[in-house]
Amino acid sequence: MQLTAREERMLSGAEGEAVRWALEMQVAVGKVFGARNMVPVTSAHMMGDMEVMGDPGHALLERLAEGGARTRVPTTTNARCVDFAAAERLLQPAAMVAKEAELIGFLRRMGVMITDTCINYQTLYQPHMGEHVAWGDTGTVIYANSVLGARSNFESGPAALAAGLTGVTPNYGFHLDEQRRGTALVEVTATLADLADWGALGAAVGRWLNDYWQVPVFDGPRRTPTADELKHLGASLASYGSLAMFHMVGVTPEARTLADAFGGAAPRTRLTIDDAAIEAVYASYPPDREEIDLVVLTGPQLSVFELRAVAERLAGRKVHGNTQLIVTTNAQNREAAARLGYVGAIEDAGGLVLSGVCFYLMAPGEMRRRFGWRNVLTNSAKLANIIGGYRYHPILRRTPVCIEAAVAGRLAA
């Protein structure tokens, strides 16, 4: 790999042990993917979730912080595992809550901005076309690549932190023009009315392609999608298919036309998604029984628009006594939604509006055991895909169905 004089200096340890460690790791990753050089990034967005890193990751971050590691480009954090205001009510283990607080301290010392959001692209920073970034949480990466035209690979927690410390990332994959061209054509005739339908579209296509190096091109949605719809589509594609980029003809910036999206090449494969294909995704998440233990709107965190829709449907009503309703967003959106009366409406109805977290990061297996929850109803295809690993029975349905079930305590047949 061709390194600059500055990078050679970093690798020699002249800029500190943390920087040497970070760049050495990045070079090793770059070599596997045939990167010729490193590329400067303007920001890093990292997943620092206690739930996955465990004690060893925690200790590593402590060593880095104590060794004087310091980020050199703005480095923000993804959703975390604990909303300190609600941890007790949710019976989250005290040891985990304490460790999360320590972890935040380590990251702060390194200059990491504790933003706790998986919708940084909606609330913090919107990179422009062609801007190189090093983002983690796959939903943020696919949105940046596809909708904004920025450039990032999936950068997991330690990789994004490494980029924050060095200011560069290996130049391969979605940093390069040739990887960004469409490979598969998806003709969409489905109606796609609800947010969950966009997630279901992502699920159908993700299950079909399931390959990081493929780039689906959507042609045909008959109306212009909203940012929240593209957010659910992207999060779901990334979750089901490990996909990092899509094009939508006439919608996303590198797909003004079909030919533009494919860079002149022909699609390698094609698929049509009609209403039946969307219904088949819902049918793959059948209810285990009528009673619903838990309704969760999360994954990704909700926008102010989404919070408004939930508040309007719940206003003046009550969530059923046997059902828990949990909604997650970030601090900025919770603040705005509180000012607009939406948080009040949801909480008066008995729902919980959590800040800075995403449900699947909150040690959900532990909460399931402590509350005796068995099933979870959600409008997030991404959550439905993940939560089975924690032994919940996931049920994916459209947003109004989820909210009505929270009120009724059961899912209408």
Binding site: V52, P56, N210, A238, Y360, G389
Partner: protein, 155 residues
């Protein structure tokens, strides 16, 4: 008796030998694994109930998100990580996770490792050389009716 040699681009990590655990399904440490025990916990997964600890996981693809970045380091420290990963196609997250944890990883091998290797094969993974060598073939599992459980022709 040595079996086939699979070849591909250089991967990452040390040379290791171990038992292959072959999964027809893609893998994610967040979606599919009980990370306390290192056992595949997702209902209906092709290798549900199998432990990854000390084995070499052979799988078609990396599934889902960024969790592997931290999770492999955690598993390695607790002694429940696999010795290496052999993917048909991997993604950056898995390579980042393996580099942090010091676990070997290879992909894009010919012939296809998922079709060629069998659970129980004793294999040698040499990431720098870009080779996976079958050192000893597993005896094919046989069902009570005399058919092989992996669906291949006997003999």
């Amino acid at each position: 008796m040595s079996g086939p040699v699979l070849r591909g681009p250089a991967g990452f990590g040390p040379v290791v030998e171990g038992e292959a655990l072959v999964s027809a399904d893609a893998f994610s440490p967040r979606y599919d694994l009980d990370r306390d025990t290192g056992v595949i916990s997702r209902k209906g997964h092709a290798i549900e109930g199998e432990s990854l600890a000390g084995r070499i996981l052979v799988t078609p693809a990396a599934k889902g998100g960024v969790a592997a970045g931290w999770a492999l380091y955690d598993m390695q420290a607790r002694g429940i990580a696999p010795k290496a990963f052999v993917f048909r196609t991997t993604n950056p997250v898995f390579v980042q996770g393996c580099v942090l944890a010091g676990i070997g990883i290879m992909d894009r091998l010919e012939p296809d490792p998922v079709a060629t290797l069998r659970t129980g094969d004793w294999i040698r993974v040499d990431p720098e050389a870009g080779t996976v060598t079958v050192l000893r073939r597993a005896r094919a599992p046989v069902t009570p009716n005399g058919r092989r459980a992996d669906g291949r022709q006997s003999g």
